[in-house]
Symmetry: C2
Subunit: 670 residues, 2 copies
């Protein structure tokens, strides 16, 4: 079980029991603990704002001419930025300017001066290429992250206005979008988090959690399978506070959607259990958009899809309507959001103060979730294993850790893509998160790996103390790789519990046996790839590589044998064989390349002395990349072909993943 | 442009023009051509069967008691095999035995003794975990690939009956399934191929292409996004001869589908443009299943989903109904399929003989498609580039190659996931493959990368001479990685044209900039990963790595600089700088690791002499794995973090992907 921190983690776990492996257990006390920095609390968004008097002005509507000036301003901001950058997409911001205006100016509740105020409404631009829409809105609303100079450096090095929305660059942007379909799935995660927290913490006399999740998605998002997966779950869970705007503009990059997208989206969403509203004139039908939002809010047991038919690039404004002409009026009109936002937050803070007085215990848990400050000493809950502990598959050990952590970490929740009983991810003291039991913490994702990953990104980015985990067979990371990459990029800190991590799964055969997957995640930035070999490695974060047994002296073994996960046992056995023949053998566990890379040169030298070039690694996966560890004179034993269907023991033997092979390779090098 | 062969290819192509790069062009004649074996014709499924008299008995129906004996036999074969293997899934074979029986015994047209007879009906078990259903049916039908001893070695090492259906192991299995959702998408590709070929080659007096594609999919497949993507396209394309059975058994691994899958599948498929039929009693409603198939065949402009409600594991038969008791009757009943199949093929062969006489030119093209024997001299159509050729982005050069090949390869077809004008994949002499123009060869996949890959797998496996290619931005291989992996595993020979292959795409930022992707495909088995640097590298298959310039003698350069793709130009520039300072510098292009690995030790030594440890590689991606090429004393320049949004030149500079960095690294090593 990896420690919850900002780093997204992939845990690769075996399905095999490790009945005879004692090499590791004989030296538990020598396992170096992770450095303190790894234990740091994820307090990424700490907010401290003064309490102000509550002011409620959000329901006021604005005269139409000002609305149109505002909408045209949004369009101009987008056009100007795209022209200046000579790069980017003005079409969506222009077509969606009306709904953007209505959302940010009339509907949404937020505080521009504290983009992380907990009870804000969330907005996701799933059609991320239209990011100038969001930057223009954040700018008008008064967010410090998007000032005029930021708009001018759109898509430039070091700017706060990159080519797609990135939460880690631009406060006010909730999630990272661009790869199509991810955003709407993130929005499902955000709405799930709201529903879950509301059910857990709201009281009849004090509903401190009460906000909406809005998302704009286009035809591209609609075509992506991930969107269907996530929206099917949103319907299943009855996420009534999720309101999606489908920008139905009939255009994708290759031309009219007629060439590839003629399905009835309405009918499909009806099938998925959503409420559907069609705004036929999205270009100027402002009241229709307003009415649709009102109707959507009234439907509490279903998410709503508002199909807004727009003309892409509608309203290419002439200079007479430009921002430079009307900017002053528009800015003045929008300027109320700063004091209003402060009031909203102050009002909420006062409400929370009341809550805290009356519901002390719940308030403490809730504060941990919204601050990301984990309860003191939480890590002591992790089990420790000794020589007497029964050997077991690491996925079972992982379940012990998950269940231990769930007791002390109020924000830990998650589940599996229909493999909970194989991945061992059920939290035994909780029920299922479902439409009518949203307070529970076991999430049933169904066979929807990609949607699962992106939903977890949304959960993680909802509140710093929410720590989502999700699980499937390691090979099916291929289905969700785009979402995992975004976890890593956007610093979501999702824990991926990936079991059945090699040919060791046996009879299911090559479609189910990962080969290149360890290498592929070791090559991915910001991912902590862990392949633990036993209970203690599963429970903790270690230095990546460390010596599990050694009969040499003076840091000069004849040979170093290196293993990970299930194959560490094989390395240990080979070591015993070689020692019987009088060799000085060091056996090293290499649970994480990334953590090892972070250690001091002295530590690395103490584990892998440069003078010892006789090194053999063994891992039931691709040897790609192992030259780095074993050196050009060493030997990497692995599998550079696809697997096969047979009992695991037979495949290990046929593929040469054996102690004999390690011994033979070592002797060649000696 | 990679050569069409059995190997699945990923081409990583730049979006950048290469205006100033002349290093490569100065030595075009020294580029070693690929070995002859790479040019071999893909004649993977050559069939030669005697012509027999036509017999038509398929419409006969069988008395119900015999049908039930047959169905129970299928169930028993599955149960027995699973029990013997102590592994596998008997539930689906039991529940789906009735539809399986009706398809293979009453409906489908095939020849058991020639599983590759061109005009056979195709069957795909998308719910591949239920493979014992298919093995039992192939066994009863008389396929030589699944004899009694094969059933007894279910899921054992070296058997023809692996844990999931694998086309490369078991003749009679059309595609490789198991990872859920892939099979139904493959089936869409198979049905596309039939519709395309029928439109191109059928004549009013001789319809030589006329077969159906049947698929069984379960709840798991239905939840996967890839299935929705592919089925949306099937509806869009009006694939009337695609008939899907949805085994609606309300159970997935984690329990009742109520916990995660409550959408209305019927409504969704109605939205996708399918015809829907519900067979309420799939357990014993044999006539309802038969009527549904008849109705489905009558609907010619839409694919049909037959929802068959079954009870998983229905009819757990007692020994009184077992195969050992009724096997003899059942075998006798099924035995007619061998002569009938031979007759069907003979009848078709006679028809084709007529066709060949009358339509000589079409017949020649068609034969190339069904045999996989490419027209002689086809490779001469590829463009050759000289010093005078204008420099250009490799994606543009790729388009020239694709268009040149389309003229000589009748089976080349494909397209992009809504990025045709960016990926440069349009075949200019053809129109779009659409519902009413299925004879055309540009396929518009929409923003559905995962479905696209799996559909291409289906196209490739329909006929040996069909060579599908597909395209998107390289980073979005993450969306389709599961399908690419199956291309590689099942030997489909799909060509993946992946453009915008680095931070070089600039302003779109880190969500769109591949970093770890080259490494991740180099680690994947059976994939030929090519990163060409110019026209000739794009046009051909080379030895993987070769010297593009060298001022050393005696195979003893001071330093070796290694580049790929867009960065080869940087390596060449650095080489020029160092030579000005009197160094003996070799510059090497490393277009493909896999091809380099295949070369002789002597060739490798001639390119990368072991004695020269001063080696610097440069590639705008993860350095993971490069230790293998540069050695432990060399230096790999690359990017081990995510990218950023800015103009490309700026990002290259900020990340140190520059000639200066190469020169500095080289000097450190000298």
């Amino acid at each position: 079980m990896a420690l919850p921190n900002l780093q997204t983690t992939v845990l690769s776990l075996s399905a095999l029991s490790l009945p005879s492996f004692s090499g590791l257990k004989s030296t538990p006390s020598s396992i170096p603990r992770a450095t303190a920095s790894r234990h740091r609390l994820p307090t990424r968004r700490h907010q401290q704002l003064p309490i102000r008097a509550a002011v409620e002005t959000l329901d006021a509507t604005t005269e139409t001419s000002l609305v149109e000036k505002s909408i045209n301003s949004i369009r101009f901001l987008a056009i100007d930025a795209v022209e200046k950058a000579n790069s980017g997409h003005p079409g969506l911001p222009m077509g969606c300017a009306p709904m953007g205006h209505i959302l940010y100016d009339e509907v949404m509740r937020y505080n521009p001066k504290n983009p992380y105020w907990f009870n804000r409404d969330r907005f996701v631009l799933s059609a991320g290429h239209g990011c100038m829409l969001q930057y223009a809105l954040l700018h008008l609303a008064g967010y410090d992250s998007v000032k005029e100079e930021d708009l001018k450096s759109f898509r430039q090095w070091g700017s706060k206005t990159p080519g797609h929305p990135e939460n880690f660059e631009t406060p006010g942007v909730e999630v990272t979008t661009g790869p199509l379909g991810q955003g709407v799935a993130n929005a499902v995660g955000l709405a799930l988090a709201e529903k879950h927290l509301a059910a857990r913490f709201n009281k009849p006399d004090n509903e401190i959690i009460d906000h909406y999740t809005y998302v704009i998605l286009g035809d591209g998002c609609q075509m992506e399978g991930i969107a269907n997966e996530a929206c099917s779950l949103a319907g299943h869970w009855g996420l009534g506070k999720l309101i999606a705007f489908y920008d139905d503009n009939h255009i994708s990059i290759d031309g009219d959607t007629e060439i590839a997208f003629t399905e009835s989206v309405d009918k499909r969403f009806e099938g998925l259990g959503w409420h559907i509203i069609w705004v036929k004139n999205g270009n100027t039908g402002y009241d229709d958009i307003r009415a649709a939002i009102k109707e959507a809010k009234a439907v509490k047991d279903k998410p709503t899809l508002i199909k807004v038919t727009t003309t892409i690039g509608y309203g290419s404004p002439n200079k007479a309507n430009s921002y430079s002409v009307h900017g002053k009026d528009v800015k003045k009109h929008w300027s109320r959001h700063v004091p209003e936002g402060a009031s909203l937050e102050a009002e909420w803070n006062a409400k929370f103060t009341e809550y805290e007085k009356k519901y002390k215990e719940e308030a403490a848990e809730f504060k941990s979730i919204i601050s990301g400050e984990l309860p003191a000493g939480w890590e002591k809950a992790l089990p420790a294993y000794t020589l007497e502990s029964p050997a077991d598959a690491t996925r079972n050990l992982s379940q012990q850790c998950l269940n231990a952590l769930a007791k002390v970490l109020p924000g830990l929740l998650g589940g599996s893509a229909d493999l909970a009983s194989s991945n061992m991810t059920l939290l035994k003291m909780f029920g299922d998160f479902q439409k009518d039991t949203p307070e529970e913490r076991n999430v049933r994702f169904g066979v929807r790996e990609h949607g699962m990953g992106a939903i977890c990104n949304g959960i993680a980015l909802h509140s710093p103390g929410l720590i989502p985990y999700c699980a499937t067979f390691f090979v099916f990371t291929d289905y969700m790789r785009a979402a995992i990459r975004i976890s890593a990029l956007c610093e979501a800190g999702v824990i991926y519990v990936m079991t059945h991590d090699s040919i060791g799964l046996g009879e299911d055969g090559p479609t189910h046996q990962p080969i290149e997957h360890l290498a592929s995640f070791r090559a991915m930035p910001n991912i902590l790839m862990l392949r633990p070999a036993d209970g203690n490695e599963t429970a903790g974060a270690y230095k990546g590589g460390y010596v599990i047994s050694d009969n040499s002296s003076g840091n000069k073994p004849d040979v170093i044998l290196i293993g990970t996960g299930s194959e560490l046992e094989i390395a240990a056995k080979a070591g015993e064989e070689l020692r019987k023949e009088g060799k000085a053998v060091r056996v090293v566990s290499f649970v994480s390349w990334e953590l090892f890379d972070e250690q001091s040169d002295a530590y690395k030298e103490s584990v892998l002395p440069a003078a010892v070039s006789a090194r053999v690694s063994i891992e039931a996966g691709s040897t790609f990349g192992w030259e780095k560890i074993v050196g050009s004179k060493g030997k990497a034993i692995g599998i550079d072909r696809f697997g096969a269907s047979a009992p695991a023991g037979r495949i290990y033997k046929e593929f040469g993943i054996t102690a004999e092979a390690v011994v033979a390779a070592a002797k060649e090098l000696l």
